[in-house]
């Protein structure tokens, strides 16, 4: 499989403070990568930078996606290339209904003019899988949603927009075990339907990895990848905590 995303020596700042210090990462088509790490280690800076949040400035380095240097692309242009970010804290947009939003996004991304009837049918199918009540279709985006409902709404958007590269920023945080299973199953279903799609999954906890099998696991520490490995690295972390890695790094130095 060919390279989908290649990141070289990425330095990023926000509010004039450098957060990422020379990060390198490659993701191939169809791979699932997991990023773990403590709060403040730079995980969200990384996901926001990938999606093109204007507050995050690339100081140095390069992000190459599908052979295109996307450093200067706006987030909607990245979305058009097939990128998708499932937000950690999805924001509410008063007065804009879920159905209207997703429909407009599909129009922009795919240019197809799917009939309202077919669109609803597809939407309801995906909502069934995520056990989201149909009434949510005409509710305003994330307004008054519980934490779990917001997370499922992100996954719903992913499955409707069919991106080829999915960044999921802590899709499991704040979920009870049943919701976690639902979310994980939906991700797996999606992956089964689109095997070439790559996923970058950011999480604090090992438990979502009981359901989703990663190809690679990366551990963030102080704005860089401190260690990479297979699924066994996540288990090791779960057992020994981040301190173990931190110490290991110090001893290497």
């Amino acid at each position: 499989m060919s390279e989908l995303l290649t990141i070289k020596d990425l330095h990023v700042e926000i509010d004039k403070k450098e957060i990422l210090h020379g990060l390198n990462l490659s993701i191939k088509e169809g791979e699932i990568h997991v990023v773990m790490g403590r709060n403040g280690s730079g995980k969200s800076t990384f996901t926001n930078t990938l999606m093109g949040h204007p507050a995050y400035k690339i100081l140095k380095g390069q992000i190459n996606f599908k052979g295109v240097d996307i450093n200067n692309l706006k987030s909607n242009e990245r979305a058009k290339l097939g990128m998708f970010l499932g937000f950690q804290y999805p924001i509410s947009i008063p007065g804009v209904t879920v159905v209207n939003f997703i429909r407009q996004a599909i129009k922009v991304l795919k240019g197809d003019n799917i009939s309202p009837k077919d669109f609803r049918k597809r939407l309801y199918e995906k909502m069934d899988l995520l056990e989201i009540d149909y009434s949510f279709a005409t509710r305003y985006i994330n307004e008054g949603f519980s934490g779990g409902e917001k997370k499922r709404m992100e996954i719903l958007q992913m499955s409707m927009l069919e991106p080829c590269f999915v960044i999921l920023d802590e899709p499991d945080s704040g979920l009870d075990i049943d919701s976690l299973k639902l979310v994980a199953e939906s991700i797996n279903n999606f992956k089964k339907q689109f095997p070439k799609t790559s996923i970058l999954l950011v999480t604090h906890y090992q438990r979502i990895l009981d359901y989703i099998k990663p190809d690679k696991v990366h551990v963030f520490l102080d704005g860089n990848i401190a260690d990479s490995g297979g699924p066994e690295l996540a288990l090791e972390l779960e057992k020994r905590g981040y301190d173990w890695l931190e110490k290991a790094q110090v001893s290497v130095l």
Binding site: R78, A79, K80, P94
Partner: protein, 468 residues
Amino acid sequence: MTLDLNQDQEYKYGFHDTENYTFKSGRGLTKDVVLNISKMKKEPDWMTEFRLRSLDIFNQKPMPKWGDTKLLNEIDFENIFYYVKPTEKQGKTWEEVPKDIKNTFDRLGIPEAERKFLAGVSAQYESEVIYHSLREDLEKLGVLFFDMDTGLREYPEIVKKYFATIIPPEDNKFAALNSAVWSGGSFIYVPPNTQVEMPLQAYFRINTENMGQFERTLIIADEGSSVHYIEGCTAPTYSSDSLHSAVVELIALKNAKIRYTTIQNWSKNVFNLVTKRAVAHEGAVVEWLDGNMGSKLTMKYPSIYLIGERAHGEVVSVALASGSDQHQDAGAKIIHAAPNTTSVITSKSISRNGGRASYRGLLKVHKGATGVKSTVKCDALMLDANSRSDTYPTMEIYENDVKIEHEATVSKIEDEKLFYLMSRGLGEDQAKLMIVNGFMEPFVKELPMEYAVELNRLIELEMEGSVG
């Protein structure tokens, strides 16, 4: 699409017709002008006296010392045409309307809307209503829907009973002015237990430069009845100013319901200084849906006096102030004068390109009005740093047994919201428009579908070229 930050969308309704009028008063306001209007209308003596008394009050009252006094003092009362009669005869079909004027209303889409979904239409051009219709079935039910002049002529006893009882000429300088020179407007009476299911619409058009339009509307919903009235307005774009100063009185008797919707889209050389007030008797409901998109300066605060137990009042006020030549000073007043009355005020304002939007409101609860519940919510959205938003909420609560909620927010289009929408593929302009439309949704969703579509289109036009 090429976007230009400084380019404003051209006002679509700014065209004008050549004047071919039956009568046009000279500029300025004198006793003779007032007498002449009354004489031409063949009014009863009490109305002539009322006009003259109002003229005195107007002359005695100073200009308001609050609001946008700088703009207010630009009004040159001597330069205004107070009465313009465009045609001799009022049409009952559009064919009877003079061709130029009919064309104008065609361009505004009125005859088409009438065919589709209105129960009655009144079209006022300058000072007079030039077209009027009401569906036959409603006529048979005893619903009265006329221009105010015809109302006065044919139903003097009803008019005399209610006229100026809610807004006397002493109320304010502009109410006095209207009372002196009023012409046109709507007179509506809905008999007891009669429901007017489809809206009645009035459309107001100014054509002459320096025109003063002073329509007068009186709506009485008798016990247990209901009616929805919609008004829209446009004017040509001229280099000097026109004045629109209406008085609107609503009376909702026991258990009646009145909804009054305004989509104000005057050109940016019109002063829009309007007094609107309603009384709601026992169990009655009054709703003002007040949308202000146009004009140079609007000062308008639809009011509701809840004077009977369990009456309910609701004001949804929306204002779009676009450009440094526009100030929307809008709001609402609700007075709880009876127990267990309830009210909701929702104000939404958007300012952009240097525009100024103000919310001015009053919530008053009289002593003894126990069990009152009221919610006031004001949200302002500012699209850029040059624009301005002010909130002047006043609360006078003289009773302890009440439940009042008040909430006010001022926001910008947050980067996080833009990022969220853009991360799904929407362009920046599209995302901003979506946020703005969402902000307006509480108003738009209350409108009949055709108006909602039209309003969204207006917002879209206003927003075009506003983002870079």
